[in-house]
Symmetry: C2
DNA sequence: CTGAAAGCGCTTACAG
DNA sequence: CTGAAAGCGCTTACAG
C-alpha cells in the first residue's frame, strides 16, 4: 500500500503517522516523539529536520492512540457550591457529569470540591484544602470574588490553569470564562418586566439574606444592568428593596404585606438570584396576578411558578453548558494543547409559559 | 499490581479489560470478543460463562482501543438543503462540522448530500442517487415530507438507521428526531406578537413563494400552533395572508402597500419561515414602527433587523444543535450501540433586541 | 543524544 | 468452536 518513499505525495488524505515522519527524517520514532513533546535531548540537526517534516506534512497526532499509550491521567478540580436536588447548582452538576463521561476517554478525571454558598468561611476552608491538594487544572465558581482573586494568584505561581464559571473576574489570569454577561442579563430582566408596565409604577426588588451573607458578585452586576435599562427607558417609579428570608415564609409574608400596603402602585417585582419562587409564592397566596414578576434560572420551583402563570418570565444562563464547557475546555488544553477562547458569553435565555416545557436538554 | 485471582473484588474502580474477562471465564480474548460482538461460533457453555462474567463485572469496553484496533469506518449520510452563506441551513452545517471533527476520532465520516429546498424534483433526483450509494446511517431533513416517507421505507428494508431533523414525521421508523415542536413554536410566536396588541387589530401573515413551491411541513405546523393560540386568546382581528417573493422587493412593496391601504388596522405581522427580513425591510422603508413583527431563525439578515428594533422578536430552533446531535446520535449508535431517545424536542428560543448579541455558540 | 522493544486494550486474520 | 499472534499509532523505560 504505502511505498517506502515520497509517502507525503502519494495520497494527500492518508494520515501520516509517527513512523512515517521518522522514516522521512531518517530517525527513530522515539526521537520524533521527543521533538513533538519538546522533551529536549535531540541534536540540533535532527531537531531541525524533524520539525521541517512535521511542518510540511501538517502532522496531526492521533489522540486516541496517544491517550491509550500514555496512560497519563489528568485531574480537573471543580470548585462549586454544594447543593440539594432542585437547586441551581444541581443543573451545573449535570453538565459536569456529562463532561466527566466524555473526558474519561482521554484519561481526564474530575474531582469535586464543594463549599457552602452562604458561608464565606466554608469557602476559605476549602481554599485551605486546595492548597494541599494536587490537580492539573481547575474550574472555579466565582461567588466569593474577593477570595477567589488572591487564590488565583497562587494557582498562577503553581502553574495550574483555571477557568471561571458563574461570573467573570477579568482581572485574573483565567484561561477562560464560561457564563453569561451578568450585566446584560440584568438588562434583559428589566426589558421583560418593564415592557408592559406603566412608567410610573413601582417595582419590588427582592433580596435574599441567608445566614448573614449578602448577594454574590453576579447578583450585583445583574442589578446594575437592570437599573441601567430602567434609567434609559424613562422609568418614573421607585425600586423598593426588600429583604426576604430563604426559609421563613411567614416572616416574608408580613414584610411584603406591609410593603404592598405602603405602596399600592407596585406593578412589578424582580429577584436577582434563583429564588424568585419565594416572591411568586407570596403573590399567588395574595392573588396579586396583576403584578409582573421576573426572576432568574429554571430550577424546579421557578419552573412550576412560570408554568402556572405566576412568574411572568425567567432569565436563564445554561448552567449545564457552563459546567460542561468548563471541564471540556481544560480537557482539550491538557490533552491536545488547544487553548479556549478567553471570554465565552453564553446565550441569555428567555423563558415564558409557552416555551418552558422544552427548556431542557441544554447539554448536547 | 493486579493479582491473578479475584480481580473483580480487589479494586472496584479498576477498569476490567478483555484479558481479565478471558481469565475469569477461562477462555482466550478472541472468544470473549466473539461474545461481545455476537459473532457466534462459541460453545453454549463458554457463551453462558462469559456472559455471566460480563454481567457481573459490568464490563465497559474501551472505545478508544476498539476504534484504534478495528479500523472499521462508518459513513453517515447527511441529507439537507444546499445553502448560501447567511442562510438558515448554513447554521445547521456548522453543527455538522463540529460533529464531523469529533466523530472522526471514532472512524465515523460524514458525507453530505444537498438538494434545492425550493425544487421538489431536485430532492427526487437526490433520492435516486441515494438508492445507489452506500452508507451506514443517515440524517434526513424532512422538508418534502411526502417524498421522505416512502424513501424511509426503503431504508428500513436496507437496514439503515436514520434520524430526522427540521420537523418530525412520527409515522416513520426513525431512530430519533432532533428539532423543535413546530406547533408550539407557532404558539410562542403568537404569544410574542399578540402580547401587546389590541385584540381587534389585524395581523399580516407573510408567505414566501419561490419557483412554485409552497411552505414546508414545518411551516404548516407552526401556522397551526399560531392560530390555535389566537383562538384561545380572544383574537378578534383578521389574519391577512399575503404572498411575497424571495427576490422581488419592488413587487413585494406594491403588494404590501396595497394591503396596508385596504386594512389600516394592521398592528402585527408574522412569517413562518426564516425570511421575516423581507417584511422587516418593507416596514422599515415605510417607517411603520408601530407594527409588531415576529419571525423565525437567527440568520444574519434577521439578526440585524432585530438589533435595529425593526423585528420585535425571533423564535429560534438551534439548527447547529440539530446537526450536531443528528450526527452524534448515529455515531454513538454505530460505534457503541447506544440508542438515542426517539423524540428530542429542542428548546424554543426567544430572541429580542436585548439578548440577541449573545445568541451564538449554541454548539458546546 | 539515540533507537529497539514492549505495551496501552481491543480486533483480526489464520491455523487448527 | 478455539487460541496464539500480529497490529492499530503512540509512549515509555531502558540500554547504549
Amino acid at each position: 500500500m504505502r511505498s517506502d518513499h515520497d509517502d507525503e505525495t502519494k495520497d494527500p488524505t492518508a494520515t501520516v503517522r509517527i513512523v512515517d515522519i521518522a522514516r522521512m527524517a531518517g530517525v527513530s520514532t522515539a526521537t520524533v516523539d521527543r521533538v513533538i513533546h519538546r522533551r529536549g535531548k535531540v541534536s540540533a540537526g535532527n531537531l531541525a529536520r524533524i520539525n521541517e517534516v512535521l511542518e510540511r506534512v501538517h502532522y496531526r497526532p492521533n489522540l486516541i492512540a496517544r491517550s491509550l499509550a500514555s496512560g497519563r491521567q489528568y485531574v480537573v478540580a471543580v470548585v462549586t457550591p454544594r447543593f440539594a436536588e432542585g437547586e441551581y447548582w444541581a443543573d451545573f452538576e449535570a453538565g459536569i457529569q456529562r463532561a466527566e463521561a466524555e473526558a474519561r476517554r482521554f484519561n481526564v478525571v474530575v474531582r469535586r470540591f464543594g463549599f457552602d454558598q452562604y458561608d464565606r468561611s466554608s469557602f476559605e476552608r476549602l481554599l485551605e484544602l486546595l492548597r494541599r491538594e494536587s490537580f492539573d487544572a481547575a474550574v472555579l465558581a466565582t461567588l466569593f470574588a474577593e477570595r477567589v482573586v488572591p487564590f488565583t494568584g497562587e494557582l498562577d505561581r503553581r502553574g495550574i490553569p483555571y477557568v471561571f464559571v458563574d461570573s467573570d473576574l477579568p482581572e485574573c489570569r483565567r484561561m477562560a470564562y464560561f457564563g453569561t454577561s451578568s450585566f446584560d442579563a440584568g438588562v434583559v430582566a428589566a426589558r421583560l418586566l418593564f415592557e408592559r408596565m406603566e412608567a410610573g409604577a413601582d417595582i419590588v426588588v427582592g433580596n435574599i439574606r441567608h445566614r448573614g451573607e449578602g448577594g454574590s458578585n453576579q447578583c450585583r452586576e445583574r442589578e446594575r444592568g437592570f437599573r441601567d435599562y430602567l434609567a434609559r427607558h424613562d422609568f418614573g417609579g421607585r425600586l423598593l428593596d426588600v429583604e426576604l428570608r430563604l426559609d421563613d415564609e411567614a416572616c416574608n409574608a408580613r414584610t411584603l404585606d406591609d410593603l404592598f400596603a405602603r405602596h399600592p402602585s407596585i406593578a412589578g417585582a424582580v429577584t436577582f438570584n434563583s429564588t424568585c419562587y419565594i416572591l411568586a409564592g407570596y403573590l399567588a397566596s395574595r392573588r396579586r396576578s396583576e403584578v409582573r414578576l421576573v426572576g432568574y434560572d429554571v430550577i424546579e420551583r421557578n419552573r412550576r411558578m412560570l408554568s402556572e402563570g405566576i412568574v411572568t418570565a425567567l432569565v436563564a444562563q445554561r448552567p449545564e453548558v457552563q459546567g460542561y464547557r468548563g471541564v471540556m475546555s481544560l480537557c482539550a488544553w491538557l490533552v491536545e494543547g488547544v487553548r479556549p477562547a478567553s471570554v465565552n458569553n453564553l446565550p441569555i435565555d428567555i423563558l415564558v409559559k409557552e416555551n418552558i416545557a422544552y427548556y431542557t436538554n441544554n447539554i448536547i
